[in-house]
Point group: D3
């Protein structure tokens, strides 16, 4: 699997990397972006979409990041779980908050499986 | 698939149903609990665990409910998605918040899949 | 979605349907087989494989059927969960056994999610 | 990802570790529990639930463990697959039984996917 | 779950609906877009992304559509499986091609599960 | 996890390994087959099925391989993603085709999740 470093990147890729670095105040982009750079249109579109989706709105950035982590851990993506756990911590998730998030994810997994295994019909009105 | 109604339930099951109704201020329990009542020990343990996990703590009840919804929708459980969408709304999730939550889940799904398809190595330090 | 009934089936498909009916002692095959009949080579290969895999061996038929149910419910396949719950009951799964199976699946879902969300390293020697 | 060793654990965590070690007759707990110890209430609740669910009942301990393995492998949890394969072996799963369990899981995966891709309607009466 | 019809849609939503109808030569948009219209920014971004991704390129439109179907059926999304099966047929997927696609998906599901259950190490050089 | 090398294999296993090597023109089989050799009936059945499914038909071998990759990456199987990416490249998948395949998978993941989270009803006629 190839990772494209800034020094080896095309102008098109460098422009995206520069925007990520500026938006996040980091010296280098994460491996995800270096891997995605093998297909510049996907790199550019994904970053533009992510920037729009994660901007502050009706939900604050920490809540969005914890939802991203919940989705990533539920989907079983190890890379994504690692990077969004770090991102959520950087945005203020404490150990206690992380512990409670984990407890919710675990409980959701259990009740999701039970509901599906029992084929529970959706309640009227929902 | 059997749903056990209060009138047909054992004393053990009724005690759990009563506790759910009191805790939630509802006249009847959801189908999930009526289905789970086929195995009273699982009904009791699941409710006790859920009550503990969803109690207010370092995370507020609405955030916990939105995380539960994020996990349920990501896991593709239709019943759970329906019931936790309703629960999150009851706890204050507005249409705008729901829209942003959906956007985060969709974006997470996309980047989760890309990270796995590209087998991105976890960044040093994460 | 098309279901191919015996009366409308080709000789190739009828031969598979006849074998399923004889092996299971049933008057008609399940919808799964009628749906799969849109592609006769897949119908034939799937049935031959299933017959081989589910034959008694080191594991008895009920245990195999409960494992099939566990996999189907975990994968979230509603059709498969319904049909393998019925099949397991026909092979001797009692309500109490079903309840305990559900409890194991729910617990596995919870600990699976926690292990992945915490990125637990595999213990030495495993 | 932090693993909390016994020597560094709080009294609350040590009590759970002691109970696990006594119940299983092992000198040290697995990494799963050391990782879960970052959130003591989740550690304690998960262990208490697991102990209850895996106790002998209508299903014997080996069958329960193989169902746990089936769920874990189907969910794609590498840690869980490794640890429950080892646990099932310790409880008597032979190579032949493991081979047949794998064959069932593989077959279930194939027919689950086909049933969903064909959107097979659930048979009347199921 | 709300579906927003053209007659009830805002100007922002109508503009996206008009673009979808023009691009696809259809009289009305699918339910997916009517549902997504509850959050106009997600509607607009999703459509713009989809239009870019599905445009002819190194892969022809039918191949892209079959890959979309493969991903949707594998993810177990019933709505998506239904709509992308129809879309692939409209782009030229024959019954024989559909049958072979299903066979590949089923086989992949089986070997995916076996590879994970056996924890097969990635071959050197891959 | 045991890998069974040719030198240590039974005659039954060697016969399958020989057939794989001949069909693919390779000097040794992949780890997947060495792992599967722990259960010779599953090894033999899986290889026979795979050979049948992947033979040229209404779909060409490269399209079949890309569908296999799409299913494997969507299922999150790292081993399978690695081996089928390599196989697709060997059959002619260029970097541009790989990039577009990834873009389709990512987009499918996003719209799959949105469709499920919104519980979109299937359009009439599909």
């Amino acid at each position: 699997m190839a990772l494209i470093e800034y020094a080896d990147a095309s102008a098109e890729v460098r422009a995206v990397f520069d925007d990520i670095k500026a938006a996040r105040g980091v010296a280098d982009v994460n491996n995800f972006w270096k891997a995605l750079a093998v297909h510049p249109p996907t790199l550019k579109r994904t970053w533009e979409s992510l920037k729009q989706v994660m901007a502050p709105g009706a939900l604050d950035p920490l809540t969005k990041e914890m939802l991203y982590l919940a989705a990533s851990a539920t989907a079983g993506c190890a890379y994504c779980t690692a990077s969004h756990t770090a991102a959520a911590r950087a945005k203020g998730m404490t150990e206690a908050m992380h512990g409670e998030l984990l407890a919710v994810l675990g409980m959701a997994a259990e009740t999701n499986r039970l509901a599906e295994a029992l084929r529970v019909p959706i309640d009227p009105g929902l």
